[in-house]
Amino acid sequence: MPTDLRHSPGARVGLSIAVATGLYGISFGALSVASGLDVWQTSVLSLLLFSGGSQFAFIGVIAGGGSGPAAAGAAALLGIRNAVYGMQLNALLHPRGWRRVAAAQVTIDESLATSTGQTDPVEQRRGFWVAGVGIFVLWNAFTLVGAFAGDALGDPKRWGLDGAAVAAFLGLLWPRLRSREAGTIAVVCALATVLAVPFVPPGVPILVAAVVAGGIGWFGFRHGPDGKGLEPDVDPYPDLGDRSGATNAGTLR
């Protein structure tokens, strides 16, 4: 029998993940304004794009002097994993009607990880919605806080905000480097980027790296149980809650 909501493990894990993730909306807000977007544009990205990696990618390309199409392209490519998450969550939760649209919007790394970290279907559902909606609310609130703070700071370089952006990307990458192959892909793509920088317009090196990464993924595919660590569902908070079921997320119960 499912426990009531106050004692629900899914809701509890979802809430702690929502607070931890929502808080770093501050860094997105501040960095977005530092990249040259205004507070409105920053808020729209958090409200409508709502996927940390894609949002950081968009402003990362803009900050480097890249064009709008390159920024949108990088953001869209980084969002592809969300389609895989959506398929997994659809199989777990079967949302219908408007709930399906709402579920799609809050389908991100953290809500998937919270949901698949639970074993009881009721708790999977609670975990998903509490994490997803909780992060949505807090992420947007803290994006605004960060955007106004960033606006007030003035010269972003003086405060090291360009260094903060570098740290943010490394922080998003780090938990995914769980296998030798993942590390190799990261190094190869970083090298491809650096080699491409002098020859193509800003922003395009990131798309070059996407082609390299996609090629390694597609052509390096072997049938069988290898490819460990490349599962798109990475738990960003391995210390929180019961994660025993998480590694099975890709296999779909």
């Binding site: 409508l48 990618a57 799609a104 922080g171 892909i185 993924g217 798109p232």
Partner: protein, 103 residues
């Protein structure tokens, strides 16, 4: 095209990608190769964004305070610091190095 236009494009693409997962037949995306490509793309793009933001200034490669931020962030991550602390460590390193005279 204005930045606004591309923001809207990115948002539409992002949402439709998410929704797609709920609409397509299960078999298509349980395809292990597609799941693998989604994984390698994510790693490759994040690695690329890290490198570009650390080293690129327009079309030039430059070594400046941002490289210090990268080292500081890696150290913080090595010590299992939470995301926000990692970001602050990166900012502090870059700002600190500039105070000391780095570009």
């Amino acid at each position: 095209m204005s930045v606004w236009f591309w923001i809207v494009v990115a948002c539409a693409a992002g949402f439709l990608t998410k929704l797609l997962g709920y609409l397509v037949p299960r078999k298509l995306l349980t395809n292990a190769r597609i799941a693998r490509v989604a994984g390698t793309l994510t790693i490759g793009l994040l690695a690329s964004l890290t490198a570009a933001n650390a080293l690129a200034t327009g079309q030039a490669l430059t070594v400046d305070a941002r490289l210090g931020a990268l080292v500081a962030a890696a150290t913080a991550l090595w010590l299992k610091a939470p995301f926000l602390v990692v970001v602050i460590a990166g900012a502090a390193a870059a700002a600190g190095l500039r105070l000391l005279g780095a570009a």
